[in-house]
């Protein structure tokens, strides 16, 4: 099954090239050049992973991550950053980021993290389904 991902970065050139390269690797890529647009897209669609730039105009990556997680706690978010400080990294993990990658990143690393994110999402979905089935079984007394 194709990986469905959303890349969020205010660098349009970066978005154009990385989406071409990931599409060539059989991924279904959507892009957003602002946090506002990214939040809108996650409200309207479902993604296996979101690759999010930490430093963006108007709303930074951490704030965006927080809103995204509030809207969809199962969303797997990989943060990309030009200058990761330890503090920012810890804050990102506390807010529920799956990983933090420093720019410029090797595409193989990004692809690997996207695959891991998808696996993580499948596990979470399976756990939720199992819980729901157990609840139904208990309620119905079967």
């Amino acid at each position: 099954m194709t990986d469905k991902i959303l890349i969020v970065d205010d660098e349009q050139d970066f978005l154009d090239i990385i989406s071409d390269r990931l599409t060539a690797r059989d991924m279904n890529v959507s892009t957003a050049s602002s946090a506002k647009d990214a939040i809108k897209q996650i409200e309207e669609d479902s993604f296996d992973a979101v690759v999010l730039d930490l430093m963006m105009p108007e709303m930074d990556g951490l704030e965006t991550l927080k809103i995204m997680k509030e809207k969809n706690p199962d969303l797997q978010v990989i943060l990309l950053t030009g200058h990761a400080t330890v503090e920012k990294g810890i804050e990102a993990m506390k807010l529920g980021a799956m990983d933090l990658i420093e720019k410029p990143a090797d595409l193989a690393t990004i692809v690997d993290r996207i695959k891991r994110a998808k696996t993580e999402k499948i596990i979470l979905v399976e756990k939720k389904s199992e819980k729901r089935i157990r609840e139904i079984l208990t309620r119905k007394g079967w």
Partner: protein
């Protein structure tokens, strides 16, 4: 330990490190685009080796992108170099237009990230003064940082330099939410020390949301 730190030097270092962090972020962004471009060329080479058709138009546009990023990085490094050299002499001749242009470039990432727009109405002719360029840059950085907390809803700050009898002045406008208290809070020890070192004065006008920075024509012979 803190008693051993020279406050003026500390203010300068804080400014320099903030600019360096912002610049390194910009360079990293540019490098990320160049890195992906090189990766794209690798992908295309592999595809060509397998006999797949090459999209020449895409390659042409990629070359344009790479060139644009090299020019962008060169601009960033040139500005960093100008800032670094502004510490060379304690007093040197500068054109305020050029200095403000440099400050707009150096602060762009910070201001844009916070959703602000900083502009300058440059004078047609050079406004030449003799000052300590680094500390004047530091002072303008601090004023812009303060200004971002007190602008109106338009989030726009304008800088207007003009020549005066005693030297020059820079008007910072768009500070619609400035109050007397906010301005007094801005006058920290660092700001006061820089103002004294540069023989500059700051004059707020809360009614029209403006701060005027008066700069002497020659720091080595300031008019008292």
């Amino acid at each position: 330990m803190s008693n051993m730190i020279d406050p003026l030097g500390e203010a300068g270092l804080q400014f320099y490190s903030k600019v360096s962090a912002s610049i390194s972020h910009e360079i990293k962004n540019s490098l990320a685009v160049l890195n992906e471009s090189a990766g794209y060329l690798e992908d295309v080479t592999l595809m060509a080796k397998k006999g797949m058709e090459i999209n020449m138009e895409r390659l042409e546009s990629l070359a344009g992108t790479m060139l644009k990023q090299v020019q962008r990085t060169n601009g960033i490094v040139t500005n960093m170099n100008r800032l670094a050299h502004s510490l060379d002499d304690p007093a040197s001749q500068v054109d305020l237009n050029a200095l403000l242009e440099l400050m707009i470039s150096l602060s762009e990432r910070t201001t844009v990230t916070r959703g602000f727009k900083v502009s300058a109405a440059f004078s047609d002719s050079a406004i030449t003064i003799t000052t300590h360029p680094f500390f004047l840059e530091n002072l303008i950085w601090l004023i812009l940082d303060f200004a971002m907390n007190i602008t109106g809803d338009e989030k726009t700050i304008a800088m207007v330099p003009t020549k005066t009898e005693s030297g020059a002045e820079i008007n910072f406008t768009g500070l619609d939410k400035m109050t007397e208290n906010a301005f007094n809070d801005f006058l920290t020890q660092h700001v006061r020390l820089i103002l004294a070192a540069l023989h500059c004065t700051l004059q707020p006008n809360e009614n029209i949301g403006k701060i005027t920075l008066h700069v002497p024509g020659n720091i080595t012979h300031p008019v008292q």
